[in-house]
Symmetry: C2
Subunit: 211 residues, 2 copies
Amino acid sequence: MTSVSTEPRDTNGPTPATAPTGGSAAQRERRRRILDATIALAAEGGFDAVQMRAVAEQAEVALGTLYRYFPSKIHLLVSALAREFTKDVERSAVRATPGDTAHERIMYVLNRRTRALQKQPKLTEALVRAFMFADQSVTGEIHEVGTSLTTVIARAMHGTPDHGEVTEEEAAIIRIISDVWLSALISWVTGRMDTEDVEKSIDVAVRLLLR
Amino acid sequence: MTSVSTEPRDTNGPTPATAPTGGSAAQRERRRRILDATIALAAEGGFDAVQMRAVAEQAEVALGTLYRYFPSKIHLLVSALAREFTKDVERSAVRATPGDTAHERIMYVLNRRTRALQKQPKLTEALVRAFMFADQSVTGEIHEVGTSLTTVIARAMHGTPDHGEVTEEEAAIIRIISDVWLSALISWVTGRMDTEDVEKSIDVAVRLLLR
DNA sequence: GACTGATGTAGAACGTGTTACAAGTCTAGA
DNA sequence: TCTAGACTTGTAACACGTTCTACATCAGTC
């Protein structure tokens, strides 16, 4: 488990399928298989069960190929998280969020997501721990996740899929809510909070911030 | 790097010096040497440089002894963090925090601590990453850290070393501030925020929460 | 159709966290 | 003092993330 690499990993040439979209059809397909295998293993056994050899085998690629696509286990898991979150954002764009007040709508989307995560505790454990352990070299993927979360909350705040006008203050509030949500998630993953505590702590934060 | 152990590690008998206070004088001394070595190595090279063999060597104990005192690298680092934070709490108990408003006082203590951490980036990186990666088995140490932080903020809020009366709402606010502070610290450690961003994000959170 | 460079494969090898084990040492109580 | 048991030591072994090497395959170019 390496952590802070000051140099950005210089292999011989650019990596082939770092982005979800680039590369040939076969490469996108390999990337998909790898992330699917990652999710499957994580869902079954959590962070420890996502072993690089196991992922490679289940995705039917060589270990070296796996590392060519994702330069570390952390990149792999955070990329998986980013893919899942992106799906969520796409879903949330479809129709307006139910709820009469910003508070209700924000709680709606966050609780929905929280419960979805809690249904797969092992998977959540793996993804959250990876996210928290990520170092500088994972900035891109981390940012993707943060943007997804921000977008979803902003939409809920305004109650509409479009959310062009976010004031400075609103942005600050959204960031704080994200922080609280992530902290609560960690606490839940590590057994320091139960399901109810998570929802309550977010509810309190949203109430205090939106008054 | 193991993570979720459902069973609480059953060695042959109780561990000798899990608590800072228990054990013989020689054991407390060993514990101190181990934590000193940990801090020294972390300060110099960050998380990766805290290698269990290196810690054992520098603390002049056998590897097995190190593991008897601290059952994992994460326990070790979080315990080191807990020790540092506890020192801070003791210092903060001595005299009242400067500042005319709760906002000013809270910013004073948090900024002071933030700057202290930023002076030793490698050390902070090691401690924060360990804290974030900690799993269920580290609950005790984590809780110790959380309590320290809460105590310090509560004192600052009231402006006095005693802080018996913390309302439900105040406790919630303190928890949110802690969450924001930790998130900001992670962002700083992983290079996603600079020094100024950290202070600003906390300032905004405190302002929004205390209005 | 053959050449070439990028990509993929299989598997060995290395580093570090963690565990296991055999033997020495220290301490409390008889 | 002697002994039982806990504690410590030194060292080997194991697991898994990561890197490296030698070879195969494939796509595009002449």
